[in-house]
């Protein structure tokens, strides 16, 4: 029966090619536009570390007071600061109250290649503690993270990315070799496998959708080398000059993540933070009741408004556009159905039930929906190409379609077309056979 109706649908669609093309084009364009933006939206808001995003928490501690002096243009005083001061980050590291934890920040260094003919080039680095790697489940190709002892010893040791290893060592195992960073030799402890969570949830200060650092090194070493933070450094008025002044100041520039697998651990850690803030108060550093927060990866992405306004606007506009396209398709399908009143009248007169007519029209809608999906996929692909060409490089990596995206496109196209076809189909079942036959 299905095959027969399917054949009938194809034949009926062929009978009015112009109308069919218009309907499929309308659905295809609408689906293409809306699915393009939806793909970008989904990619930007996707879980960067599935399975663990509810166990990883970033720490916020109010070290400025609940109603701080204006800290910058557009600052919202009721919000807790996004980062920690060096003082607080080091106190938390020392307390070691979570299963795993790491203070971290981004910086940059120059690398001088061993080959004197090659010019030095710039690398993005991330200063972190050894827990960074197991906590974020960073995969290793060769070697392993540096040790906790290396953290304590402020060791000149690094972990490099696979891309940098390919560039410098042609992909060979480089563990034990050295890199010259800013004139100092660093021993390579490990080489990462490809790892680029998108968005770069652990540091959303800037380049949120970038691949991240080329080189990782111990936080303690970076501090010794006075590596300036690349990202946001937000200072209070009382900060002193110089690097030691920065470290002693209430400037916030350090990100801090803790792994807390169970809700018991999370509760304990929250109490630990409040106790810490209370201690700071009794020590005379804070003059306010403790204000601290723990936010997991998903909460953090929402808090940081990971989806830019531009993408939100495009999603809204494109879905309104899809709505117009579906209204359009509905009108045209109605016209098409009513144009076939006579056929339906004959079928009904020959004994077809309303249900049979309904099924036939619905299958025809489905076929149109599949056509719309095919056209929509092409437009989505073109749309993503367009976005890639038009929007800045930061978000380029997002615009790839995976199998889920394709499935969503097809499903949305078919379901939307069936919905739009519902009224015309219902009207078809209401056709009076006698009326139609009489008119002939």
């Amino acid at each position: 029966m299905f095959a027969y109706y399917f054949g009938l649908a194809i034949r009926s669609l062929k009978r009015n090619v112009v109308l069919t093309v218009l309907i499929i084009a309308a659905i295809g364009v609408g689906i293409g536009a809306s699915m393009t933006t939806l793909t970008v939206f989904r990619a930007m808001g996707s879980d960067p570390i599935p399975g663990k995003s509810d166990q990883l928490f970033t720490v916020q501690i109010d070290n400025w007071g609940p109603n701080p002096e204006s800290s910058g243009p557009g600052s919202k005083s009721h919000r807790l600061q996004d980062q920690l001061s060096y003082t607080d980050a080091m106190a938390l590291m020392k307390a070691h109250a979570a299963k795993r934890q790491s203070a971290m920040y981004a910086s940059g260094v120059s690398l001088t290649p061993a080959n004197p003919d090659l010019l030095p080039f710039q690398l993005h680095i991330r200063a972190a503690f050894t827990d960074f790697f197991p906590m974020f489940e960073v995969p290793f190709l060769y070697g392993a993270p540096w040790s906790a002892a290396d953290d304590t010893a402020h060791a000149q040791v690094v972990v490099i990315t696979r891309a940098l290893n390919d560039k410098l060592f042609a992909g060979a195992n480089s563990v034990g070799k050295t890199l010259n960073l800013e004139g100092h030799e660093y021993r390579i402890a490990g080489v990462l496998d490809t790892w680029a969570p998108i968005p770069k949830f652990y540091d959303l200060n800037d380049e949120r959708f970038s691949k991240g650092a080329d080189v990782y090194l111990p936080f303690t070493r970076a501090i010794d080398e006075q590596m300036e933070a690349w990202g946001s450094v937000n200072c209070r008025d009382n900060a002193e000059s110089g690097w030691q002044g920065r470290l002693r100041s209430e400037c916030i520039w350090v990100q801090y993540w803790a792994e807390l697998p169970t809700s018991a651990e999370q509760g304990a850690y929250r109490r630990f933070l409040d106790n810490y803030a209370a201690e700071q108060r009794s020590a005379g550093r804070f003059h306010w009741a403790p204000r601290t927060a723990l936010q997991n990866v998903r909460e953090w992405m929402v808090y940081q408004q990971i989806i830019p306004d531009e993408v939100r606007i495009l999603v809204l506009v494109s879905f309104s556009f899809l709505f117009v396209c579906l209204l359009n398709a509905m009108g045209l399908m109605l016209a098409k159905t009513m144009g076939r009143s006579r056929d339906i009248g004959v079928r009904r007169a020959l004994g077809a039930t309303r249900r049979a007519v309904f099924a036939q029209c619905l299958i025809e809608s489905g076929v149109v929906g599949l056509g719309g999906a095919a056209v929509g996929l092409v437009f989505t692909w073109l749309g993503l190409l367009g976005l890639r060409a038009l929007l800045s490089a930061k978000s380029v990596e997002l615009t790839h379609m995976n199998a889920t995206d394709i499935a969503i496109v097809v499903a949305v196209a078919v379901v939307a077309t069936l919905l739009a076809g519902l009224y015309p189909t219902w009207r078809a079942t209401k056709i009076q056979p006698a009326w139609q036959l009489k008119a002939q």
Binding site: A26, E69, P120, P308, V324, L327, L390, S392
Partner: protein, 407 residues
């Protein structure tokens, strides 16, 4: 033209009419808001920065291994750049406009103020910076060489003198008497005297919302030589010599000292292109969607009206046989479309304003002027008339005899 017969025939075709009306309403709402955003973003990306951008290029320079003599190295570099043929002037700074990263600090009018009177983007430079960027000094004076001191990235200091933009001057001193006044910057207790006012100098950020848009010209120049392992050299060339000077500059700098890292050397025009890329991208995408929307709605009207024409072949034939002219048939379909489109446009104007109000609150967009929704309404009415023309003309050209003979 008789409207009543049109209305009564429409009543038998309610759904089709409602579908077209709704399409027109939503089309109008999207069109108004979409094109409004396009216009906003284009205007944003065309704001003058205050610089003579066509003759400017920048070099982001870094020193390897934190050498202790950065200050003298930078002075050597800048002197060499100024000596290059084709160079008008050159300066060293922490930053320049359109980079989308930089420094902000609060400005106070009294030493113990709790909340800042304004915020400012910080540029450091010597007495050459104004000339290098091509800024227009509208009041006061430039820095003297004797005022310039070294400043590192972690130094927390306040200058004795400062040059501000007209925009910031007016924000701090609305009476227009900013020149010579003392302000308190970077949280310091020591007064800083405004010695000069430049017409324009854009902040580094180019965002479309919030303070980045509202205070986009609130910049200052502080009399510092920025001494850090990474800083930016800004070079102004004679007109038309940018490309050759850029090549010569890189070569000269590498001759002076190879132990450096030039992370970027690019014309200011390219910096501007990158700075506004996302705004331009959004504008283009929205314009394309609006065009597609017009096409879809137009074709939808063509399709549905064609169907109505074919459905009414017999009636049209009878009318023609009874003496109706071709013009009368044409006008029938045009009036019908006008009625539907007008209803849609009225709903659409309301919808457009509603969406705009919502965007005002959630995206910090400005209010849409009512007259634009009216222009949009006229546009969709014209779209309706234009789309209905072809099927209506086909209806009018139906020969009466043929139309009545068989359906």
């Amino acid at each position: 033209m008789e409207i009543r017969p049109i209305l009564s025939s429409m009543r038998r075709n309610k759904v089709g009419a409602v579908l077209i009306g709704l399409q027109i309403a939503v089309t109008l709402a999207i069109l108004c808001n979409g094109l409004f955003i396009v216009q906003q973003r284009i205007a944003l990306s065309q704001r003058p920065s205050g610089m003579i951008e066509t003759d400017l290029f920048t070099i982001d320079n870094g020193w390897i291994g934190n050498p202790p003599d950065v200050s003298s190295r930078i002075l050597t570099d800048i002197a060499a750049l100024r000596a290059l043929p084709g160079v008008v002037d050159a300066a060293n700074s922490n930053d320049y406009p359109l980079t989308n990263s930089g420094w902000t600090e609060g400005v106070n009018l009294t030493p113990d103020q709790k909340n800042s009177s304004a915020f400012m983007a910080l540029y450091f430079g010597d007495e050459h910076l104004i000339d290098t960027l091509g800024l227009k000094l509208v009041a006061g004076r430039n820095f003297e060489p004797s005022e310039i001191t070294d400043r590192g990235s972690t130094d927390r200091v306040q200058p004795a003198t400062i040059i501000v933009t007209r925009s910031l001057a007016n924000r701090l001193f609305p009476d227009g008497k900013a020149l010579g006044q003392s302000i308190y910057v970077e949280g310091g207790k020591h007064p800083t005297q405004i010695v000069g006012i430049v017409d324009r100098l854009q902040i580094p950020w180019t965002g479309a919302a919030g303070w980045q848009k509202k205070y986009f010209e609130d910049s200052v120049i502080e009399p510092y030589q920025f001494v850090d392992s990474a800083s930016s050299y800004i070079v102004r060339t004679k007109p038309g010599q940018l490309d050759t000077v850029m090549l010569a500059a890189r070569k000269r700098l590498m001759e002076i000292n190879r132990n450096r890292l030039i992370t970027k050397i690019e014309p200011m025009a390219d910096t501007r292109f990158t700075a506004y890329q996302d705004h331009r991208g959004l504008a283009i995408i929205l314009a394309v969607v609006c065009a597609a929307l017009v096409a879809v709605t137009g074709f939808g009207i063509v399709g549905l009206t064609s169907y109505w024409v074919s459905q009414r072949r017999r009636q049209i034939g009878i009318r023609r046989a009874l003496g109706a002219t071709r013009g009368a048939i044409l006008r029938y379909f045009q009036t019908e479309n006008l009625l539907i489109a007008s209803a849609g446009a009225i709903v659409g104007v309301g919808l457009a304003i509603g969406i705009n109000l919502w965007m005002v609150s959630s995206f910090e967009m400005p209010r849409l002027k009512f007259v634009w929704t009216l222009i949009g309404a006229v546009a969709v009415l014209l779209l309706g008339q234009f789309s209905v023309l072809w099927p209506a003309m086909r209806a009018a050209s139906l020969p009466p005899a043929l139309a009545t003979r068989s359906a």
